[in-house]
Amino acid sequence: MIELLHVKKSFDDGASFAVADTSLSIARGELLALIGESGSGKTTTLKMINRLEDPSDGKILVAGRDVLDQNPQELRRNIGYVFQGVGLFPHHSVARNVAAVPELLGWSRIDIEARCREVCDLVGLPFDDYAQRIPSELSGGQQQRVGVARALAARPDVLLMDEPFGALDPITRAGLQEEFRRIQQELGLTVVMVTHDMTEAMLMADRVAVMLGGELLQVGTASELLNRPAHPYVTQLMEMPRRRAERLDALMREEG
């Protein structure tokens, strides 16, 4: 569904590379987590997929079409986008925020309203209760639900997420992670999600791609990364969830 072919990105005309020669393929219906520290190039990689950044070199295909051949605005309207800042329009109601992309695409009023009702219900915000509220009246978790609803409103096949749950408290985050995974599988969405939280990546993603200093170190399922790390950094990354699991395991034994 998404192909990155020898993609490079430099912000200083080639003196250094934020993303160095990266190739990656994401299948239809797959959720891929891009993990790394800040400065690893994960967000830049994500942003090149909907042309918030343009690659310096290489090719990116979405559904078989080169993104550089497409108008950036039209491309973005067909790809859902969710990020940590949420960025709801504060001067618009929940309904108008969710309706933003279908409005841009020129849907009819009736279609827009029906679809808003559908996606609000889908993300757990009953339309009749929430449609006329404004963002400042909502909790952080509810705001991000609206963010997800907005991203899904125009029925995209592809969704890009940049640390979508990063600003939420742990309990809200866990609930939303699980719920989002359910929605993603139900709709068969292809998702690329940037995160720096390995636990989140392991819980949600089909495959995890690890980046460091602009290099893609390894791509694989959580068990591949855990059992056959290709790089010391990957081993180090897996150390924390591994120890947490061992400690949890020990605690459960004590009780039993």
Partner: protein, 505 residues
């Protein structure tokens, strides 16, 4: 009611109309220019700094200087247009600066989201950035509105009618009632505009933080009602007036106000519709009559000789009258004849001080000048007459101080200066018991009052008929007494006109 106050209040509709028209036109143009420029500046730091620097610089130039510069740039055009341009320039800084900071204050995650979901740059601006920046932009417009109302009072000086007419004419004629009426009216206008735009700003703020419109209904209705009332008042004051047949002009001092009123009454007695445009400086009014925007006013031969013809020397009263009348005729204007009196410069001292020093003529000052302080009006020390006076009499005063004319008289009375450049028909000469010093070497020019008409006015027989009874009919004493009534006794101009009419020769 107090007749002085009644006289002033009758002028209010005209002045308010001029003031409102200027303020709204300038503010509208200011918004139309500054918001787009602010948007461009916010987008490009490379443009922002030079643009804001230029606009800030305009702001630091005193308002009066901007008006004068615009008049000069327009080749001497006076009235609404130069005042409008100057006010527009003046209103730009707060609007542009607030547009820039309003746009910069839009939360970056909202802008990123707008990009990320596929809004084009234009859609981002109209749907997201401008609505969110609006409260700050409106706050800038509010500041600009208050400034513009204040600065519009200055436009009187370039011949655009405004509430400033009250203030400038009031200061010159020592009419505190007029100054008070004008100041209160301008302040009241500023307060109303401030409140009105303030309520718009409040609504914009609420909308920007997303208060649903249902909660805003009452305040929106309130603001709408206020706006409707205000527009209604505006429309009523701006109702088109019948176009006058002629415009009578006047420079900004008492004698000119009295003469302009006298001319107006004379023309109206002939059945003509007359508008007064008073308070223009010498150069501006002479340009205006040449351009036909003023039709009739009283000029002085010495001013034509010295200021417009830039002639040096003093060939004597008759020769000056002959040469200056030929000059104005060559300019396409019509000299209709002399009024009979002269309002010339004369050195004056308090009678007491003059007796003490034994002075009765300028000649007597020569040995004493080094110990004496001289006071002059705003232009006297810059005139060639002053240089000639110094040269012919060998005068070298200890100090030369420049005053507003009204303050110059109080300064000589209080003994702060010893000698001043008085005007021979000034009522204050009599009121303060000043001695006008003789000028045996004829250093000072003669200033015969001359009725000057535009080409259009001089072709109308009714104008000639209106002026005829005034020709040679006004004596120095009568003019001085009329000036004294207004300047010293605080009587309304209309009374001075009646007095002058009764004492025509």
């Amino acid at each position: 009611m107090n007749p002085v106050l009644t006289e002033q209040l009758l002028l209010l509709p005209d002045y308010l109309q001029g003031h409102l028209a200027l303020t709204f036109a300038a503010l509208g143009a200011g918004i139309a220019l500054s918001v787009p420029l602010g948007v461009i500046a916010a987008r490009s730091p490379r443009i922002r700094h030079p643009l804001l620097a230029v606009v800030s610089m305009i702001q630091t130039v005193p308002g009066l200087a901007i008006l004068a510069l615009v008049v000069a740039l327009l080749g001497g055009q006076i009235g609404f247009v130069p005042a409008f341009i100057a006010l527009t320039l003046y209103s730009m800084l707060p609007i542009m600066r607030n547009t820039v900071s309003g746009l910069e204050g839009v939360p970056s995650d909202v802008v990123e989201a707008a990009r990320g979901i596929g809004l084009s740059p234009r859609q981002r601006l109209w749907k997201v950035e401008l609505p969110l920046a609006l409260p700050v932009v409106v706050a800038g417009i509010r500041t600009a509105a208050v400034w513009t109302v204040g600065m519009a009072t200055l436009s009187t000086l370039v011949g655009a009618s405004s509430l400033g007419n009250y203030i400038f004419i009031g200061i010159q004629t020592r009419n505190l009632t007029a100054v008070t009426v004008g100041s209160l009216a301008a302040a009241g206008l500023a307060i109303v505009l401030d409140a009105l735009i303030g309520s718009l700003q409040w609504i914009a703020e609420k909308r920007a933080v997303g208060v649903a419109m249902r909660d805003l209904k009452r305040s929106t209705a309130f603001a709408a009602a206020l706006s409707v009332l205000f527009s209604l008042a505006l429309v009523l004051t701006l109702r088109p007036e019948p176009k006058p047949d002629f415009v009578v002009g006047g420079k900004p001092f008492t004698e000119q106000y009295i003469l302009a009123s006298l001319l107006t009454e004379q023309l109206e007695a002939q059945g003509l519709r007359v508008e007064q445009n008073i308070g223009m400086g010498s150069d501006i009014i002479f340009e205006a009559i040449g351009a036909g925007t003023v039709d009739l006013y009283v000029e002085y031969s010495g001013t034509i000789w010295g200021s417009y013809m830039r002639r040096e020397g003093n060939p004597g009263r008759d020769e000056i009258n002959r040469v200056t009348q030929r000059f104005v005729s060559e300019q396409g204007l019509n000299p209709l004849g002399l009024a009979g009196f002269q309002n010339r410069y004369a050195l004056a001292m308090s009678r007491e001080r003059a007796a003490q020093l034994g002075v009765s003529s300028v000649q007597d000052l020569e040995p004493l000048a080094a110990m004496l302080q001289a006071g002059g009006d705003l232009e006297f020390f810059g005139r060639s007459e002053w240089q000639r006076l110094q040269r012919l009499y060998g005068l070298d005063f200890a100090q030369e101080l420049t005053f507003d004319a009204a303050l110059m008289y109080t300064a000589v009375e209080a003994g702060q200066v010893d000698v001043i450049s008085a005007y021979s028909t000034d009522g204050r000469v009599a009121a303060y018991d000043l001695l006008l010093l003789d000028d045996p070497r004829e250093a000072l020019l003669s200033y015969d009052a001359l009725f000057l008409a535009s080409a259009a006015a001089s072709e109308d027989e009714r104008v000639a008929a209106a002026i005829a009874p005034l020709l040679g009919a006004i004596s120095d004493e009568a003019m001085r007494a009329a000036n004294k009534m207004v300047d010293v006794d605080g009587r309304p101009v209309a009374e001075a006109v009646a007095y002058l009419r009764a004492s025509l020769n």
